[in-house]
């Protein structure tokens, strides 16, 4: 028989753990960002992280964006043609991609690719004493390992999102003109007519926040991992899961901020 007090205690422990974890991760992020204002800054580490974030993620983000744009064009055409609104396809593709799909899909993909690798790398460094070795070599581990990655995430995701925006719209354009019979000129005019600067700024702002969250979760979980290979594995998994949930939660919050009337 389940003891109700035990169940309440378990809920309480879980809540306290979640609040404590949120606070610790927030402080970790603030500490990491604060080192941006205090030299030295490790540019080589930043460039390495930036290349990992932006360059090596480019193929997977590009492919996903193209196919997403194509699918949205096809789905919206089949849906809207029932209401004689097929002409809205270009606008729907543009708004969907720029406001939501490009930043969110890019972030989720980068979280699985770079966030996981980041957690695994820092976790391995933790359990093999490499982070302690940094301290003994008079190097602040947060400044050396975390700050460059946070900045790289913050700057790289918007760039990836710009690429995803262009390729997503291009995917929709391809399906719209080749398969659905839109004229290229009309499709492009509809696209540019509907997009506003707020749409683009909102998408890129979301991307910057998502990039920061991916780097934060990867670094935080990896930096604090314990217990050898199993601990590193757990840190990697939790980094991706936490980042994915945070991306979707912050997506809602930022959508409210930018678009709620």
């Amino acid at each position: 028989m389940i003891d109700p007090l035990n169940a309440v205690a378990a809920v309480g422990r879980g809540t306290i753990g979640a609040v404590r974890g949120t606070g610790a991760a927030t402080l970790f992020g603030v500490l990491g960002l604060s080192h941006l204002l205090r030299p030295p800054f490790y540019w080589r580490m930043f460039l390495r992280a930036f290349v990992e974030f932006a360059y090596f993620s480019l193929p997977v983000v590009a492919l996903t964006a193209v196919f997403s744009g194509m699918v949205i064009a096809l789905q919206s055409f089949t849906g809207f043609s029932r209401f004689n609104a097929a002409g809205a396809v270009a606008g729907v593709v543009a708004l969907s991609v720029v406001r939501e799909l490009a930043p969110v899909l890019a972030a989720l993909l980068v979280s699985g690719r770079v966030g996981a690798a980041m957690a695994a790398e820092l976790g391995t460094m933790r359990v093999t004493d490499q982070i302690d070795a940094l301290t003994t070599l008079s190097t602040n581990p947060v400044k050396y390992l975390v700050t460059p990655r946070l900045l790289a995430g913050l700057l790289a995701l918007p760039l990836l999102t710009v690429v995803a925006d262009i390729l997503g719209v291009a995917g929709g354009f391809l399906v719209g003109t080749v398969k659905l019979g839109f004229s290229g000129h009309t499709y492009l005019v509809s696209t540019f007519d509907i997009l506003t600067s707020t749409d683009i700024i909102a998408g890129l702002s979301k991307a910057a926040v998502f990039g920061f969250l991916i780097a934060l979760m990867g670094c935080y979980r990896g930096y604090n991992s314990r217990g050898g290979a199993e601990g590193v594995g757990a840190a990697t998994t939790s980094a991706v899961v936490a980042a994915s949930i945070l991306i979707l939660a912050f997506d809602y919050v930022m959508t409210e901020l930018f678009f709620a009337r």
């Binding site: 004493d129 302690d132 003994t136």
Partner: protein, 265 residues
Amino acid sequence: MSATPKIAMSATPKIRIRGLRKAFGPKRVLDGVDLDVAAGTSMVVIGGSGSGKSVLIKCILGLIEPDAGIVEIDGKDVLQMDWEQREQVNACIGMLFQAGALFDSLPVWENVAFGLLARHKVDRAHARQRAVDVLAQVGLDASVVDLFPSELSGGMQKRVALARAIAAQPDVLFFDEPTTGLDPIMGAVIDGLIVDCVKRLGSTAIAITHDMASATRIGDRAAMLYRGKIVWEGEAGGLLHSGNPLVEQFTHGLREGPIHMELRR
């Protein structure tokens, strides 16, 4: 280094530890450690697995925050220092980790010159040359400088880690189980290199080990850590004939004696 140190212990010790305590949950790992290490001497701390040797070193280095106690280096309590002050102290310290703790994303030369590069004391060209010179001191030639740690054998990794520890010519050196995982010959080679480096630099050294051969080779003095306290201290040469039943049992590897291993059946 096997000779008795001539430095009077009444002078301010290079490292002074008083009442150092650290517990993890209910387990008291360090329970009031008192230890002095005179400048220019090598102190070997022996003790069984899990006796708190590594925790002791990590507390001195500031990697673990102790619950109570004093750790002084050159008369200054390092536990009361902020991060910047601590960084300056660490700049005069070298540490050889048990498993090397080499940065596996960096080539050998950057590992060795890491401290110099991180503190922006030298440019990369000079740092590389300095790494080549230090690697030569530990018996490694220039062919390894561009390799990555994963491409080296265990013995070579230990040498690179030793080179990294001495690259900045530190005043104080720490060695955590320097011969663990090495064959006896390679262990003796590493011990010899450690002795040479400490002599050449004139550094103060603290080594922790449970390898008795290594302890007598490296140390001027020795201390035994048991149940969180230093239970014996004396000349390293006298380790095998200390007269202390705890030390006798440990150094001779006897099953019977005052030390009881906690085994679950």
